[in-house]
Symmetry: C2
Subunit: 198 residues, 2 copies
Amino acid sequence: MARPSDQAKRRDLTDRVRAYLVRNGLAGLSLRPLARALGTSDRMLLYYFGTKEGMVAEALALDERRPLVQARAVFDSAESPRDPAGIRRFMEETWQRFGAPDLRPALPLYMEIMAAGLIDPDRYGPVLRDVLAEWTDLLASAFRGLGMREAPARTEAALLVDATFGLLVASLAEGGREQADAAFHALLDRLEPGWHVT
Amino acid sequence: MARPSDQAKRRDLTDRVRAYLVRNGLAGLSLRPLARALGTSDRMLLYYFGTKEGMVAEALALDERRPLVQARAVFDSAESPRDPAGIRRFMEETWQRFGAPDLRPALPLYMEIMAAGLIDPDRYGPVLRDVLAEWTDLLASAFRGLGMREAPARTEAALLVDATFGLLVASLAEGGREQADAAFHALLDRLEPGWHVT
DNA sequence: ATATGCATGTAGCGATCGCTACGGTAAAAA
DNA sequence: TTTTTACCGTAGCGATCGCTACATGCATAT
């Protein structure tokens, strides 16, 4: 039985599966409780998605790289940051975006996927590495645009990205964002002077 | 059936369960494959540990807080860092410790537990928060010892801890440590000047 | 020599897993 | 009107799950 490719019901179901995954994670995921919560049956989930694995892949595919895509959109559009203040503004906007109510609730799920990739690289393996690498590449090019050489630009970008990532995780763990917000801006205060190369 | 409390076999089994968990994670953990890998039977695991949950708890209990404990040991013993250079040395030693072959292989498992706690705070909930909080408290006291006021000391400590955490995760994701090492030392280079308050 | 208790094998229980077979309804297409 | 196509309920398969009941060898204590 060929699966329907792009029905409205299927789209709707995909969204609701994703919402369920965001709330419940991937760990103990089971088709029957999921179907019950969605007001349907496991039979229907498999009818639309073929397999459980396919369902998860499809439900996450739309959002999987969204944080990155959004960042690249901000980066490429508007004004590509060509000066230290622009890079700082870009980072602040990105930080704020991660706190927005449409993205922030999904972050724990991404964290679970990234952690799973650390243990079993064959499954969700490159997600975390790819996300960090793309962000780092993005910012490294910005730092090169400021006149930095290749190696320092990469190091500076890696520092900025990885440190921000750590602050993001911490803000999720703490619940509130105040302390992480303060630390994030302190980070920018400390790093920005190094971007003014001549 | 009362479980034996502290036999040698039990200890040995606990260690080997932990080693298995470090390699395979918690996600799809099943008693029978675990027992097979350990050359015993699920029957025996339950005989010694009572339940699967108890087994996991016991296998992880010894190591669960070890990174933190070791850090506190380093911090409290030797010389409690009382100057910026001492804090920097402490951070460098800690960073190196996380790269040591006895600790580093276990970090992905801790990441999995921490990520799980983000999604379901009732289960492994406070692990990540507690670890970050204790580290932050530790360093905040050191910064207060340098003459900082309460709020800046907390922010500086949170920045240092969370950023280091992010760099640590990145180093796990990348496989190699070179880039994260460079970024870590760059981080210290940028932060240390701020510790010289008068 | 007998009794007690730890250690372990065999067998299986009830539940749940992902998934499938089969049949049916209703609407659209021919 | 007939045939196709999308949708969905019922029932169950084989596998695996955590866990338990029961029996037994073996060692030590009495």
